[in-house]
Amino acid sequence: MDMEAAKLIGAGLAAIGAGMAAIGVGNVFGSFLESALRNPGAADGQQGRLFIGFAAAELLGLLAFVVAMILIFVA
């Protein structure tokens, strides 16, 4: 296979990771809302943890983006 084509296919495959991170981030906020509606009084105290979870889930998606960028522009 042509080297250039292989890089672009790899970058495209890395985009799957971004979609996976979307599931993760959706899961974080979805679970938070679900439980916040059950117990609204406790919701405000957990906002810090919500954003920690969001940051952790998002980082992995951003790593997938970095892989794609490295494949297209650096490698």
Partner: protein, 261 residues
């Protein structure tokens, strides 16, 4: 390479250009005043004006003072919730960090392109966010070793770890600790870069769509433009969230140094 054939190069906006003293060298390093430095200066000046307007300490605060005090109170609450009473001495650092990143992100999103200026988001460069992350990490290390001495290493062995597990747990915790400055800087830099690339790609859809004829313009250009408005709102949210996450994680790491586990 794909980027070279595209009409709109989404990476061009991140180019660093020297504005003053392009040939100034100190010990082999170029110290030209770049557009990145210019926007850091603008951010610092805007932040300074913002703070100056809110520090009149009136007994009955006006709107401006209320805005500033909301931000300081927000950071104060965050540190008190995450670090505790001793966390209050870090308010100046975390507050400066949060406001600097927030203002940088927001100023980089300003639609100055319509008057011919090119806003530059310096937080979309790993050199900048990496240095900010290293400052946070050094504070954690200095405070940790200053306060706890070599007892600081007990951070890597959580309470109640069974003795046979220590040789395995210790390297894992150590690596996860050492990766922190990297992930902290990477998160901000990639989130800002991805957002700006996305906006640029969408704008290239609008431009190329209308260039290809009115049919393509209506079919591709108009929906892309509507999507772009939505993404712009999302980017404003991301700019605030990333500044918040950076400050939040910095305060959590400081909590580790201050209180161990």
């Amino acid at each position: 390479m794909a980027a070279e054939t595209a009409k709109v190069d989404p990476m061009h906006q991140f180019t660093i250009e020297p504005l003053l003293g392009a040939n100034m060298d100190v010990a082999g390093f170029n110290i030209a005043f770049t557009n990145s430095a210019l926007w850091m200066l603008i951010t610092a000046v805007v932040l300074w004006i913002f703070m100056l307007g809110g520090m009149k300490r009136e007994l009955v605060p006006g709107r401006w003072q209320m805005t500033v005090e909301t931000f300081t109170g927000f950071i104060d609450d965050m540190l008190e919730a995450n670090v505790g009473k001793e966390g209050r001495k870090y308010v100046p650092y975390i507050f400066s960090l949060f406001m600097f990143i927030l203002f940088a992100n927001l100023l980089g999103l300003l639609p100055l392109g319509i008057v011919g200026l090119h806003p530059f988001t310096f937080t979309s460069h790993f050199t900048v966010t990496g240095v900010l992350a290293i400052i946070s990490f050094s504070i954690v290390l200095i405070v940790g070793f200053w306060k706890h001495g070599f007892h600081f290493f007990s951070l890597f062995v959580p309470h109640g770890t069974p003795l046979p597990m220590i040789p395995i747990i210790f390297p894992i915790e150590l690596i996860s600790f050492l990766v922190r400055p990297f992930s902290l800087g990477l998160r901000l830099f990639v989130a800002m870069m991805a957002g700006h690339v996305l906006l640029e790609v969408l704008s290239s859809f609008v431009i190329d769509g209308w260039n290809a004829g009115a049919g393509f313009g209506l079919l591709v250009g108009v929906p892309s433009f509507l999507l772009m408005i939505g993404i712009c709102a999302l980017e404003l949210l991301v700019a605030a969230i990333q500044a918040y996450v950076f400050a939040l994680l910095s305060s959590l790491y400081i909590n580790d140094a201050e209180n161990l586990h």
